[in-house]
């Protein structure tokens, strides 16, 4: 970034230099230096969409026709209801997040006394309130709803303050004191390689005749291209952030959960597990979500489980809507990838052998990182091409960042 900033500083001045020459018609400047020095403004956009290819009246088949989105009219007229549009429930309390401020550390103590003293604060929930066996969730059974002994990324959920209003909850959450004993964190894929920090899921996919010597025995009829590349992660940026409303039905120990999730059955199943009740006592509902893009495929559970555990503890409906800044910190994004490749081609351009090593940054827990790697393995690397000899090896980096997801 510093280099880029300096480059910008110089290029601004370069533009100024030539713009002044152009404006004052100062002679003897090569005309090519005066091209493209003015601000490039985006023109008003133009667009059209042609729905005329298929005559909808003659063609009863849906294929090839364009139909309005089923709830498009409701969404554009504001009729559509999202999670936080659900009216406040009788006795509802709101959540304030107590999050780890260290990427990797032992939790020495949690003191919520100051938060609990704030008028309007109802309760505080952390791992101490939960049977350790019930505090576990996630595809790798390696995620904790509330961090118990060690925090493994900056932003990990340690507890929730429950209060009568959003502002009280947020304010009081800031008063919870956590003592840490810092441990060494690993952030990037390169750091994971240096420290050999991987999940135990190293896989190899192979076809044909290929090993390291394939690329060293190169005769005059073939060439080898090799290199490495990195792809950064990406925030899903669903416009509706994660959220949950959990309502305990005290009569038969039942719960109704509204979760902004792409995966209601998983939220139901995991909620039943953490609550220690059969799944048929948990009803999980969602009418629609305001975008998910994979970001709410499994990570919605994180928010929903914490909320429903809080509802169990206080016996009141609990609403948890994650603010954008918190959402970006606590929930996973799309994976950063690192890849090394060697490609052997014949002189006439035909593939002979292809060797790829892939590593993704899975973060502190497994979640969907293996599924994402499988996607790269089965669909990403060879794409539509036929490689007679191919070897793909992959690893998942275990790091102290948020658990990256679909």
């Amino acid at each position: 970034m510093p280099t880029y900033r300096r480059t910008l500083a110089l290029s601004f001045f370069t533009r100024f230099w030539y713009q002044v020459i152009k404006q004052l018609k100062i002679p003897n400047c090569p005309p090519e230096n005066l091209h493209n020095i003015d601000e490039i403004e985006r023109a008003v956009s133009k667009s059209s969409q042609d729905f005329g290819a298929i005559n909808r009246e003659e063609n009863s088949d849906l294929i090839g026709t364009t139909n309005p989105h089923l709830s498009g009219l409701n969404q554009t007229t504001g009729v559509a209801k999202y999670l936080d549009d659900i009216p406040k429930q009788q006795g509802e309390v709101y959540t304030g997040f107590v999050l780890s401020t260290k990427p990797h550390a032992i939790i020495k103590s949690i003191n919520a006394a100051k938060a609990l003293a704030v008028p309007g604060v109802v309760d505080f929930i952390s791992s101490k309130d939960i049977d350790p066996k019930k505090n576990i969730f996630g595809l790798g059974h390696d995620d904790e709803v509330f961090a118990s002994r060690v925090v493994r990324y900056n932003g990990q959920l340690i507890g929730l303050v429950l209060a009568e209003s959003r502002s009280i909850a947020r304010y009081a959450a800031g008063l919870v004191e956590i003592e840490y004993e810092p441990l060494k964190p690993i952030f990037t894929i390169r750091e994971a390689i240096e420290n050999n920090s991987f999940y135990d899921l190293n896989r190899e996919l192979k076809r044909g005749d290929i090993d390291d010597s394939t690329f060293t025995n190169v005769d005059e009829n073939s060439v080898v291209i090799e290199g490495e590349m990195e792809v950064g992660g990406q925030e899903h940026f669903y416009l509706e952030t994660h959220g949950c409303l959990a309502i305990p039905k005290l009569e038969d120990n039942e719960y109704v959960i509204y979760s902004s999730t792409q995966n209601v059955s998983e939220v139901q199943k995991e909620a039943a597990h953490v609550l220690g009740i059969p799944a048929n006592r948990v009803v999980c509902k969602i009418k629609r979500i305001g975008g998910g893009f994979g970001g709410k495929e499994t990570r919605a559970s994180y928010v929903a489980l914490a909320t429903v555990l809080a509802a169990k503890k206080v016996g009141r409906p609990v609403r948890c809507i994650v603010d954008r800044d918190v959402d970006m910190v606590i929930t996973g994004a799309r994976h950063p990838f690192y890849g090394k490749y060697k490609l052997k081609l014949s002189k006439d351009g035909k593939f002979q052998a292809y060797d790829v090593e892939l590593i993704n940054n899975a973060g502190y827990s497994l979640d969907l990182s293996w599924a994402v790697m499988e996607g790269a393995l089965f669909r990403g690397v060879d794409n539509v091409y036929m490689f007679p000899n191919i070897r793909i090896r992959c690893k998942l980096a275990k790091t102290n960042v948020t658990s990256n997801t679909a």
Partner: protein
């Protein structure tokens, strides 16, 4: 909501107005095309498909479309929900409102504001609260007393006095833009003055988003002291003077080049307010001002680096010699920076000479040689 307000202000928007009104709206699902197409049906410039000219894809040729705008009921302004009369005020009365320990003051005259500022030195002066709200929400600032800066109408003037441009500090950025556009278009405006107006407009165009510009004030931007303020480089390059007022201290002026003491630290006492910014207008057509900004995207984004440069040239024989050269940058240091040594070293150098350009590069590289990453906030 953005479009509703646009139609309220301008019932016959151009396509450009429509796109500009949306520069703070993000879409993550569908894409901007269908959204914009819908609103373009309100523009007289648009044809039925939302395109303003023939695009060769069969548009307007009678082929079937998903939506035919002619099927829509025409817009009927009488069906609009009227703006509540009680909220329209033309006589501003000062008042104080207090609840749960939070106090809101609306002084409507400058003298009341100064008195209030003396009595409540910790109070925050709010225009659009585009900065103070961030401090409260994300930086846990616990402010309890606020003044409405927009209620004092004396602070909103923009005028040209004795070849100087004066801008009142509580003018909103949207108002500043429309005033500057009017001044640029006016026949009575001197051609060489426009250089400064256009530099201001260049960076105001991509300053935050329309929604923020509608409320954010000029004074707020100066007082916040962001190192990537899009306006401060322009004020610095043009050696702006800040007029500062307080009830006890009266009036004082500070050159903006000396106003920033450190990262978001400014030379302003708790009982003081910023009254106006004053800048010399370019003296002749040989004095040119330009401003630049680079962000990750054009609209609704904070700058990576921005800058403003002012040069005054004098013609000697066939040479255009530098009489003064003022360079200011944001995004390169904890404050907006002004580079005086450039002016000292290159006075008399010839503009257009490649050797001079190269020496300026060398000097710039020496001056902005930081070895660590600069905070972009």
């Amino acid at each position: 909501m953005s479009f509703y307000s646009l139609l309220k202000i301008n019932p016959t928007p151009s396509m450009h107005d429509i796109e500009e009104a949306f520069d703070g709206n993000l879409c993550r699902c569908t894409g901007y095309r269908p959204i914009l197409d819908t609103f373009k049906s309100f523009s007289a410039e648009a044809t039925s498909c939302g395109s303003n000219d023939s695009c060769g894809s069969g548009c307007g040729s009678g082929e079937k479309k998903l939506v035919d705008f002619t099927e829509f009921k025409p817009y009927d302004p009488t069906l609009d929900v009227p703006f509540p009369k009680d909220l329209i005020r033309d006589d501003f009365q000062p008042f104080i409102m207090s609840k749960n320990g939070i106090t809101w003051l609306e002084p409507t005259s400058l003298s009341d504001l100064l008195k209030a500022k003396r009595l409540f030195p910790d109070a925050r002066l709010i225009g659009g609260s585009s900065e103070v709200s961030i401090e409260m929400k994300f930086k846990a600032a616990n402010y309890l007393t606020f003044f409405n800066a927009l209620s004092v109408k004396d602070l909103e003037d923009i005028r040209v006095v004795d070849d100087k441009l004066e801008i009142g500090c509580s003018i909103t950025l949207t108002d500043l833009i429309s005033e500057l556009k009017e001044m640029t278009a006016s026949k009575s405006t001197l051609e060489h003055h426009k250089s400064l107006y256009q530099a201001l407009l260049a960076n105001l165009k991509y300053f935050a988003s329309r929604q923020v510009r509608n409320f954010a004030t000029l004074g707020g931007n100066i007082a916040t002291g962001s190192p990537i303020s899009d306006l401060n480089p322009i004020f610095m390059a043009n050696d702006a003077l800040l007029t500062i007022l307080s009830e006890n201290g009266g009036t004082r002026t500070v050159p903006i080049r000396k106003f920033y003491l450190g990262y978001r630290k400014i030379d302003l006492k708790p009982d003081e307010i910023l009254l106006k910014v004053t800048m010399d207008l370019p003296k002749n057509e040989m004095e040119i001002v330009k401003a630049y900004k680079q962000a990750k995207r054009k609209e609704d984004d904070i700058a990576i680096v921005n800058g403003c440069f002012r040069v005054r040239l004098v013609k000697e024989a066939s040479d255009y010699k530098i009489d003064c050269l003022d360079l200011s940058y944001g995004g390169l240091a904890p404050t907006t920076i002004y580079l005086p040594s450039i002016n000292d070293k290159f006075r008399g150098a010839v503009w257009g000479n490649d050797q001079v350009l190269k020496s300026i590069y060398d000097e710039l590289l020496a001056l902005i040689n930081f070895s660590y990453s600069v905070s972009s906030l």
